[in-house]
């Protein structure tokens, strides 16, 4: 198998992900289509049909189809976990985690990463055209849940002819999906790695999401969600939403270390409202680059899905019941400086898994990089996950990694 990192963006567009699949397995090339006969029944009671799921795969599916790793992306992620992003031209969002020789080793595992339902990178979402009206869905798109995202992924792997997953892994909202998978489809999940996540979205996190949504809806270019029809984009609102959210992904210490009170391209403050400080300039940059690759309505819908996530509530307020009799092996990961999904949330999940007598490991990684640490170079996260995955692979009867060792 070719080193996927050597691919040029053009190649990956000309040869969509499907080419890596067993030719007998897949005819769809990175887009799985579900017609009116296969509606997605949503948690709200509504249903969605037709719909499509855009996905990328990496590595080779083994004969037993037992080496599948599903990577679930976070709020603003997408299927380009290890391929160049078609809009930004940047590397995949998890380059040190997924790739040849990485903990999720594409030389050993067959990795699938799909854009969530409600997303804006090829999967059906509010930006898509409503088949009945011929217009973009906008706010006519049904509200979706984390459970709906997972149902769509189940339909995807069914269509790919994959019975079960060796591992489902994700950080933040991706971790919510990993938990939902393990809870709803325990017999199809051999191991699960929820990282920097929670079994339910906290009040504080709902509050931050609401600030973001209000920023979008306050933008006059939002047009009650119908901005596509008038060829507008609520870029200012979406950028502010991203700026506010971005602060929650970092830590006070990391901000201080990286920016302090440093001034941006100037020797003294200007007594005005330009971006005097580097941190302001940095946040503005984060906001304005984000709008090029993300749809504002998708942001509304996906943040809402996170807000509604409460696995505990689905099981009479007893989280351990969500994992009753589970055989899935879990590795829960948190970061010391993550205040969006603090270690207490991870510990809550671990205690529930203990109560369910589940096979669970729990590592807290010492890092000052805040919530975003899961996307960054955290050697201890990589070494512990490598150990967990090797051990799980051995239990699953998969071959050893390149080093030839499960140690």
């Amino acid at each position: 198998m070719a080193d996927i990192k050597k691919e040029t963006p053009d190649e990956s567009e000309d040869n969509p992900a499907g080419r890596r699949l067993d030719p007998e397995l897949v005819s769809a090339a990175g887009i799985a289509v579900f017609d009116h006969s296969q509606p997605l029944k949503l948690g709200s009671g509504a249903s969605l049909a037709p719909y499509q799921i855009a996905y990328q795969t990496y590595g080779t599916l083994n004969k037993a189809r037992s080496n599948v790793v599903l990577v679930c992306h976070a709020l603003t992620g997408d299927q380009h976990v290890a391929t160049t992003h078609p809009v930004t031209g940047k590397d995949g969002w998890w380059p040190r985690m997924v790739g040849p020789g990485c903990p999720i080793d594409t030389d050993r595992f067959f990795v699938i990463c799909s854009n969530v339902i409600g997303g804006c990178m090829g999967t059906t979402g509010p930006e898509s055209i409503h088949p009945e009206t011929g217009l973009p869905y906008g706010l006519n798109f049904p509200v979706i849940t984390i459970g709906d995202m997972v149902k769509a992924q189940v339909n995807l792997i069914d269509q790919l002819g994959i019975a079960d997953l060796f591992c489902v892994i994700g950080g933040s909202m991706g971790g919510m999906q990993a938990l939902q998978w393990a809870s709803s489809y325990p017999e199809r999940v051999f191991s699960a790695i929820p990282i920097a996540t929670a079994a339910r979205h906290s009040s504080q996190n709902i509050a931050f999401n609401e600030v973001g949504r209000q920023a979008i809806m306050a933008d006059r270019d939002w047009h009650s969600g119908n901005y596509q029809r008038v060829n507008a984009r609520p870029n200012k609102g979406l950028a502010v939403a991203r700026m506010a959210a971005h602060i929650t992904y970092l830590s006070e210490k990391a901000l201080q270390r990286k920016f302090g009170r440093n001034l941006q391209d100037r020797d003294q403050i200007t007594y005005g409202f330009e971006a005097d400080f580097q941190i302001e300039s940095y946040l503005r940059h984060q906001g304005f680059t984000f709008v090029d690759r993300f749809d504002a309505n998708s942001y509304l819908y996906i943040t809402r899905a996170m807000d509604y996530f409460d696995l505990e509530d689905d099981f009479d307020s007893v989280l351990s019941n969500a994992f009753k009799d589970t055989k899935t092996r879990f590795c829960i990961v948190s970061f010391t400086s993550d205040w969006l999904f603090p270690t207490s949330e991870a510990r809550h999940i671990v205690h529930a898994l203990n109560a369910a007598s589940a096979n669970v490991s729990f590592v807290e990684i010492d890092s000052d990089k805040g919530h975003d640490a899961f996307l960054l170079d955290e050697p201890e996260m990589f070494s512990t996950l490598r150990g967990f995955l090797n051990s799980a692979a051995q239990a699953r009867g998969l071959s050893a990694d390149k080093a030839g060792s499960f140690a």
Binding site: V350, N354, N359, S361, E364, G387, S391, Q394, A407
Partner: protein
């Protein structure tokens, strides 16, 4: 002061004895699993479904990096999260003397495990008595390797003390072993006069 010899060897025979007490293929929780030496021995040589709990995050991360199931947790607090009889064996190796409430911890171990294996340094060991009684120093032995100002051990007991606690709690002692300074293993029964004097370390298999 008594010099400690190479302690990893002493630890090794302790772990081997514990591993041999465990029925192959059973479900085991090692409370205070450190960096996973016993867990690894158990999974490799006894094919057990093993889990570890360890108070230090660096120990936990080391366990997981070597492919073992482990979580960060405090024996005094986190044992309550496990259901009754979740494990065939719960092991507390060289840890009970470091807990805040040893009696409560022992109750919890007996609740979540069918059987409980406890090992601890015997404070009735003659060299310990000599160090304190004659030398006037807090003892340092093969089993007590750290000076008083470093050690996490806060609840020392003798073999005799431990048996008294077991009697008080109506705990059944299935097996008892004394480990000598030369790593010899001696099974012992009541009366414990000699074991209390000669065991540097004691290991018990308990049930309710």
């Amino acid at each position: 002061m008594i010099k400690s010899k190479n302690s990893p060897d002493a630890k090794r025979s302790d772990l081997l004895l514990i591993a041999n007490m465990v029925t192959p293929g059973s479900r085991v929780l090692d409370v205070g699993c450190g960096d996973g030496a016993l867990l690894e021995m158990l999974s490799q040589e006894r094919q057990v479904d093993s889990r570890g709990m360890e108070i230090s995050q660096s120990g936990v991360n080391a366990c997981v990096a070597r492919g073992l199931s482990a979580i960060q947790g405090d024996a005094d607090i986190d044992l309550k999260t496990y259901p009754d009889k979740a494990f065939d064996y719960v092991i507390l190796s060289q840890t009970i003397q470091a807990t805040r409430n040893p009696k409560h911890v022992l109750e919890e171990l007996l609740r979540i495990g069918q059987r409980v294996i406890v090992s601890f340094p015997n404070f009735g060991y003659w060299r310990v008595r000599l160090a304190l009684g004659i030398g006037g120093h807090m003892p340092m032995t093969n089993a007590l390797t750290q000076p008083w100002y470093v050690t996490p051990n806060i609840h020392f007991c003798t073999v005799s003390d431990f048996l008294n606690l077991c009697d008080e709690m109506n705990v059944h002692i299935e097996k008892a072993y004394a480990l000598s300074r030369t790593d010899r293993i001696y099974p012992f029964g009541r009366p414990v006069l000699f074991a209390n004097l000669l065991a540097e370390e004691a290991i018990f298999l308990l049930s309710q």
